[in-house]
Structure formats: C-alpha cells, structure tokens
C-alpha cells in the first residue's frame, strides 16, 4: 500500500535552473486510441475513425487536445509531488501525435524564485515530441514546491 510517508517529496531548495524534469514516454497503440476516447470523453471522429480523418485530408487519426494536455499535466504533477501545486500550464497545439508514435514528455527548469508572498516557485519549459513531427506541443508552466521544514 502506498502511504504518504513512502512517497518522496521534491523541495524548492533542491531545484536548480537547468535541471531536467524526470520525463516519461507514451507509446500510442491502437488500444491507447480507445483509452484516449474513454479518458477525454471526446468523441469527435477525427480522433478515432481513420476513414473520417482521411476524408478530411488528414494522414491518419490524431490524438486530441485533452489527451495531450493530460500528458503534460502528468509530467508536472509528478514533479510537484504530493505537497506541491501546479499553478499554471500554457501550451500550443502545433503538430500531430498519431498511432504508432512514441511520445516523449520532457521538461527543463528555467527559473527558481519566490513570489511576493514567499512561496517557492519553479518555471518550466516542457514539451511533447515524437519522431515524425519533432516538438508537437511546446508548453510552459509554473509549479509551487514546498520548502524544507515547512
């Protein structure tokens, strides 16, 4: 059983500009297409029906915004840990992620600072990339991390 004591927390004092976030990969299988629809409840056919997508001029179906946003969010909430908080996420849907792609979720710390109230903040550049498109979704975020002893 997972307990709060068994989960390691990242602290603001331990983060430096230039640090890489622990990234992860997601393979977009045919089953993942179904999971995308289930998880996002986005039933627009361009995201699951190849004939529909190709009739609209697309190479193939492509994964929806809700899925991509959820993948970015996971990178941030994993980084924030149990006692951190994602304050902001901003992203641009520039290119497609399609079945057969492996998504790479990655990020770097760009700034470590305190806000006017003293909270420890971390600014992050993060992105989704795949072999066919390169960076498909660039993003920025701000995460609040707890201070040691807080």
């Amino acid at each position: 059983m997972v307990t709060k004591a068994s989960v390691q927390q990242r602290y603001w004092e331990d983060v430096r500009e230039g640090d890489e976030l622990p990234g992860y990969d997601l393979f977009l299988s045919e089953t993942k297409v179904a999971e995308q629809v289930s998880g996002s409840q986005d039933f627009y056919a361009v995201h699951h029906d190849r004939d529909f997508a190709r009739a609209g001029g697309h190479k193939d179906i492509f994964f929806n915004t809700g899925f991509t946003r959820a993948a970015l969010s996971r990178l941030l909430t994993d980084f924030a840990g149990v006692d951190g908080w994602v304050r902001r996420l901003s992203y641009e849907m520039r290119k497609m992620n399609r079945p057969g792609d492996t998504l790479r979720l990655r990020g770097n710390v760009t700034r470590v600072y305190r806000d006017s109230g003293g909270a420890g903040l971390v600014d992050i550049d993060l992105w989704v990339d795949n072999d066919h498109e390169g960076i498909a979704t660039p993003a920025t975020a701000t995460v609040e991390l707890p201070a040691r002893g807080s």
Binding site: K4, K32, S38, G39, G66, R74, T77
Partner: protein, 178 residues
C-alpha cells in the same frame, strides 16, 4: 464567431464585446472517482493523490483530488445524454472570416478540486483585436477567459484561450480586388 458579410468595424466590435460575461452554468455531475481514473488510465498516471482514497485522506487535501486540467471536464455536461446548449459567447463575436484555429491555452489553478465538488463556469471576452497573418492581413483574434468556481463560489481555475479567426484565400483576394 459570427462572420460578418460586408463592412466590418473592429472598434465597434471591441466596444460591444470586450468585457462581456456569460451567465454561470454548473456541470451536470459532481467531481467523481471514475472519470478521474479513466483520465489517469489514458496517460498511465498512477499518482495516488488522484486514485487512492486512503492515501489522499492522509494528505493536506484530505480527499482524492482531480488532476488540475480536468476542471473544465467537471464544469461541463459530458457527451451523453446530449443536451441542447445555448451558443457560446465566442460563437457570437462578429469576425471577418469563419475559419477558426484555437492557437493556445493557458490554465491557472488556484484551488484543488475534490471528489464531491460541484464546478461552475462563466465565460468572458477578454479581448478582440486585428492582427494580420500570412493567410489574412486582417485576421481577427479573440481572447476568451473561462472562470471556474466550486460550490462555495471560490475561484478554482481560469482558462484563457487565444482564438484566431481568418478568411479563406478567395475571400481575401476578393477584398484586395474590390
């Protein structure tokens, strides 16, 4: 957006629409465990804050919370059964063209949303302006803000969408030739 045929006055559109706010609407269901589980499943997220009630009860939140980006999911009606929704404000803003691209989204999160919370939303037109792009030298941009509150009327999140509306190349060429 609502495409305008003939004359288009950006200043008149700005005067009428910038700052206009919609009535609030509340999501059909409260924040629930199973949509959170399905959301986590699609991106293979095993975070116990989202999935384990016992674990979450030991944290400062005291209960399972939803991944923050789910806030607009719980402010909506869901895909089924279908409901006839009123046209969104964004669809009523006059524009030159009817081609739409949702260029980017910014989400700010102020408070966690927990299982059992009821999420409401209201929209506000934050800005409307003209800025040319390669396809359309008089493209119209709309900035929409959606404010999300919980059952205690506490602001939990804000979502800002920047929408680009433009005309077809044929429509642009017709104006140039006029």
């Amino acid at each position: 957006m609502a495409k305008v045929e003939g004359g288009y006055d950006i200043e008149a559109v700005r005067k009428e629409w910038v700052g206009k706010e919609s009535a609030a609407s509340t999501g059909r269901y409260p924040v629930e465990y199973d949509p959170i589980r399905r959301h986590c499943h699609m991106v293979e997220d095993t975070n116990p804050l989202f999935l384990d009630p016992q674990f979450a009860s030991e944290t400062r939140h005291g209960a399972v919370i939803a991944p923050p980006v789910m806030v607009d999911y719980f402010a909506g009606n869901g895909a089924w059964p279908r409901v006839q929704e009123a046209p969104r404000m964004m669809q009523m803003v006059p524009t030159r063209g009817d081609r739409l691209i949702n260029l980017n989204q910014t989400m700010e999160f102020y408070k966690p949303i927990k299982v059992g919370d009821r999420i409401s939303s209201r929209m506000r037109i934050a800005d409307v302006y003209e800025k040319g792009i390669r396809l359309d030298p008089r493209a119209v941009w709309i900035v929409m803000e959606t404010l999300m509150t919980n059952q205690n009327d506490e602001l939990v999140a804000m979502i800002r969408n920047t929408l680009l509306t433009h005309r077809t190349p044929e429509e642009v060429a017709a104006e140039m030739g006029a």
